[in-house]
Amino acid sequence: MNKRFLAGLAVATTTVLALTGCASGGGDGAAEPAGDPVAGGTLTWGVSAEPAAGGIDPLVASSAPAEVVQAMAYDTLLTRDDDGNVQPALATEWEQSDDLTWVFQLRDDVTFSDGTPFDAGDVVYSFESRLDGGTNATYLSLLESVEATGDYEVTFTFTEPDGTFLDAVSAQQTFLIVGEEAYGNATEEERQTLTAGTGAYQVTEWNQGVSITMTKNENYWGDEPYIDTIVFELYTDENTLLAAVQQGSVQAAAFVDGSLAQQAEAVGFTLGEAAFRRNLAVYVNPESGPLSDLNVRRAISLALDRQQIVDTAMLGNAGISFIPPAGDPGAPDPMTLPYHERDVDEAKRLLEEAGQPNPEITLSYMGDVAAAHHPVYEMMQQQLAEVGITLNLKATPLAEISPVFTTGESWTDLIAIPGSPRASGAYYLEPVLLEGGYYNHWDGNPDAEKARDLLTQAKSATSPDEYADLMDQLATEAADKALEFVPAAVPVTFEVWDSNKLQGYTTDSYTARSALDSAWLTQ
């Protein structure tokens, strides 16, 4: 009888699925004329993940959901516009007085949300606390000292030139500035669950597993924001989030899965244009097996039809990319890089030359998460089969893959680990090429020597121009030697919003939701 019950349950489930599947809500896509901004209101925004370890502590937490909240609640010395140009933020002027010294002039009209004024001491405190075991401390490995050379002037001194510093200091989620008093006197729990920054909105309540509430900062130094409260509601299953969007339970949402965001767009929501800043990186272990041969790696690169992966496997929700991700400011055009275009004959010729016309290669990927990326790996398998390469897909639980990127455990042949945006191009290849990097199996391998030299030179470039030039060379070299494969790049999240209700919002390139500072809700 138990079996019959189960069978009956299955019938019922299918019926429900069929009904929900067929019943897509209606909605008109036309946005009302914007009109004048109105103050007030509560914006409900659906998200599919909440901050992980470290909560929203600006010096410790680095999970993607935490970074979004941090970017709204805290400021950095500099920032960037969508074209990648450096813009002032807490600092009004910045100058590289010599190869080893940067001087920043700070705003004198800023207060933290708790009312304490901001000055050079807070900047010094923020950087020194970060150096003392905070996240991204490795980005400051060349920093010798940071000193307050005036009430509103800070001087950074380096032991060697640091080519990545300007990028890092202007990334909106990297070197967040905290208040010496507000942050320093807070308990660990307060740091992880509430914010006291200089940003337009501050976290006033975090109901774990349910929602994060951000309230307008009355002491904000910029233009006063219109929206009073923003609630990020958690829907861990994105299909449920889509249902919430269609029912109108949320006025905006962020999806990891682009096809769900497209479905939200189909019912009248506006889909933001997000930059492709997240590489679906496939790391190589060339120590043994077919991938130790450069020709085999090049053949793989040539066998990939990247456009087909973008159009079919990702349903258009991705972009062709190499390293760094195509959506990063200053990233080279992927179409100019070697082996970007499919060439089956050349791939077969290279395999013959390598003496391995039919190599067998294993690709491990996270089988239990990021389902939206799985078609990419299945399509890679199809495409590689056409040149004679057998790609064995190994769906591995995240729990088994995570030791690779937490402790540097080894893997066989290829492993797919979706990346996250980084502050500067050099940081993408650091873990692959430099000693101690979690994905580094290239020590002593002559194929990686030139790339390693270029990376080292870029990191100690004396000027932003020199850095950009070296990074271009490095991107070309990494593609030429096929040191890592990138079948496609995706945005961190796809944002959709109801433009009848949320006005003046646009997606920015940095997942910072900075346009919420000036958006408003129709009453």
Binding site: N2, A7, V11, P375, Y377, Q381, Q382
Partner: protein, 323 residues
């Protein structure tokens, strides 16, 4: 009264009622399985499309060239569904067979030998029965990898104790019977007594148990594949299709309705087969569900059952309800 005895007596006396014909439950269950097997044979020998390679527009609806449409990578859904059903049928059949072989062996030994051997075997059986099948399959997957063979091993071994219990009970009832005693007194070895004299008399519950276990394995395989721990990509699997295509539920609902139907169909087919076999081999009780609607048939026959048969029936159904 046992099946072979009954057959022998019918043949000898010619006065008893003949065995009833196979009922609609059996034929519908067997029919579904045969159709799936035929389709699977066709897809294995000369499939219309390569199941692993794109053959049309992604997420297309049913059309002349693609009977059931295509999936998100443009692969033909019909081909993949039939292959998924084949995989599921293979895993359920092979898993139940492994369980039957292992379980029956231990059940017969325990029932025939008795004493401490029986006690030890049955305590182990009790212990294994306490393990949830899906958990064991997950652990086996982690230890020796995922895929059809580890699944068959894990599920076969998890379901073996059920067979052992179902086999043991009728053997205990039968081992003191005259024909067994006669065989033993004639000097027939124990193993031969078990195989030649006891096994043929306990096949009824074995067949029924086999089909009902196969039906449970279909559901467990689907659940594991849904969780990504069963059949691995790119091999088609109904459970994994449902989990993969939930994303496209609103764009192409067929993509999850069809694999759900395949799972229901397979599970129902095994169940119907079990019911049909039960009705045919031991028609002595009111069927819980009858496609013919002749509710009196089983009840009328119940009067004629012997004590041994009742023991058998009771034991069989006790085991089923424990699964």
């Amino acid at each position: 009264m046992t099946v072979t005895r009954e057959i022998a007596m019918v043949a000898a006396a010619g006065t008893r009622r003949r065995r009833p014909k196979l009922g609609p439950s059996f034929w519908s269950g067997a029919g579904i399985l045969v159709v799936i097997l035929l389709l699977a044979g066709w897809m294995s020998i000369s499939p219309p499309y390569d199941p692993l390679v794109a053959s049309g527009e992604p997420l297309a609806g049913p059309s002349g060239s693609h009977l059931l449409g295509t999936d998100n990578l443009g692969r033909d859904t019909f081909t993949r569904l039939v292959l998924a059903a084949r995989t599921s049928l293979f895993i359920s059949g092979a898993g139940a067979l492994l369980g039957a072989v292992v379980g029956t062996t231990f059940g017969l030994i325990a029932g025939y030998v008795g004493g401490w051997v029986d006690a030890v075997i049955m305590r182990v059986v009790d212990a294994v029965l306490a393990l949830p099948a899906i958990l064991v399959a997950l652990v086996v997957g982690v230890v020796i990898g995922n895929g059809p063979i580890p699944l068959i091993l894990a599920l076969g071994l998890v379901f073996a104790p059920g067979f052992a219990r179902v086999m043991r009970a009728p053997v205990i009832a039968m081992r003191e019977r005259d024909f067994v005693l006669a065989a033993r007194l004639s000097g027939v070895r124990g193993s031969r007594v078990i195989v030649e004299h006891l096994l043929p008399n306990v096949l009824t519950p074995l067949f029924v148990q086999f089909a009902s276990v196969a039906s449970q394995i279909v559901l467990i395989e689907a659940a594991l594949s849904y969780l990504g721990q069963g059949v691995q990509a790119p091999e088609p699997s109904a459970g994994r299709m449902i989990s993969e295509f939930t994303r496209f539920m609103q764009m192409q609902p067929l993509l999850i309705i069809l694999p759900s139907l395949v799972i229901i169909l397979l599970s129902a087919a095994w169940n119907l087969l079990a019911d049909g076999l039960q009705d045919w081999l031991a028609p002595r009780r009111e069927p819980a569900f009858s496609l013919t609607g002749k509710k009196k048939r089983g009840a009328a026959r119940a009067d004629r059952t012997t004590r041994a048969d009742r023991t058998e029936t009771r034991n069989t159904h006790t085991e089923e309800s424990q699964q």
